[in-house]
């Protein structure tokens, strides 16, 4: 019973976090939401009895991808003119 409740909450939380990560206007908050989403996904893999995937998801999906997103965010903000990759229109 309590496990089913946990699973349902997890599914709802992941849907909500995914929605927030995509739609949030504040990029930094979206990235933090994405990291939280990765951790919840790792929990999901654990619940699906796939600990290998849970480890990889927590380390790569949440940790390193989050770090990559954070550093790109920081570099885009600190020197927009020095960016050799032309930012697209949708990034305004």
């Amino acid at each position: 019973m309590i496990e089913h409740l946990f699973d349902v909450l997890l599914a709802l939380l992941i849907t909500w976090l995914g929605w927030r990560a995509v739609t949030d206007r504040d990029s930094l908050r979206a990235v933090v939401t994405f990291i939280a989403l990765g951790l919840m996904l790792a929990l999901t893999w654990l619940r699906l009895r796939a600990p290998d995937l849970a480890l990889a998801e927590a380390a790569v999906g949440a940790g390193l991808t989050g770090a990559l997103l954070l550093v790109s965010l920081k570099r885009r903000q600190s020197r927009p003119e020095g960016n050799p990759i032309e930012p697209g229109k949708e990034e305004s």
Partner: protein
């Protein structure tokens, strides 16, 4: 407006299709579980996931490691990034913390690699920990010196793929099939491949975080 409606309808249709196919999945899939478990004693490892990744479906993993190397080549081709310059120095407290955390990350990464033969773990998880250690070093201003040895870095980045291909070629010469390990040697060969792959994966992730082809920064030559 029309486009939004269209995208919404397409997304709903896709969701419906996925939900429908998920609902109709068999409760007890036949799959290859029985065969995979039956062949486990001959695979060289006792953890089924590692057996699938490095033995049964070794070719997939070989290509995955090639993709990781291609990703670094892609990032490096975009721009050069000074490594280990004077501006990269971090805060002293962070440096003291790194002296504690980085060695333990390396230790746990090695443990992950070793335990992958028997339990959840393996080269990707261990490599991710190495990558995390490298990210921390870069944040603390200590990793630049590591990335500046560009020749060594290139060798280490491609080591995973090269060792994998070498093992594949050797096993092909012995058994006649690509990545069909010789009987009795599978465990050793898997560990050799995974060790090289772990180093490459960790450095790949760290190099991605660095964000460009490392070049010598001005005034960085004083601490060689």
């Amino acid at each position: 407006m029309i486009r939004k409606l269209f995208v919404g309808a397409a997304a709903s249709a896709l969701f419906g299709l996925l939900a429908w196919s998920l609902y109709h999945l068999p409760a007890h899939p036949a799959g290859l579980t029985v065969q995979a478990h039956a062949a486990l004693p001959r695979s060289g490892v006792s953890h089924p996931v590692t057996a699938v990744l490095l033995n049964y479906r070794g070719y997939d993993t070989l290509l995955e490691i090639a993709v990781l190397l291609l990703a670094v080549v892609g990032v490096w081709s975009l721009r050069a990034m000074p490594a280990g310059g004077p501006e990269a120095r971090g805060a002293p407290i962070l440096g003291a913390l790194l002296r504690l955390i980085v060695p333990s990350l390396l230790l746990v990464g090695g443990y992950m690699l070793w335990i992958g033969a028997f339990a959840p773990g393996g080269a990707f998880q261990g490599g991710a920990l190495l990558g995390g250690a490298l990210v921390l070093l870069l944040l603390g201003g200590l990793g630049g010196a590591l990335l500046r040895h560009i020749g060594l870095l290139r060798v280490a980045l491609s080591a995973g793929l090269l060792v994998f291909i070498a093992v594949g070629a050797l096993s092909m010469a012995v058994t006649g099939t690509l990545l069909q390990y010789p009987e009795g040697l599978a465990g050793t060969l898997i560990l050799v491949i995974e060790s090289a792959a772990m180093v490459s994966i960790g450095l790949t992730l760290g190099a991605m975080f660095h964000g460009g082809r490392p070049v010598r920064a001005e005034g960085a030559g004083d601490d060689e």
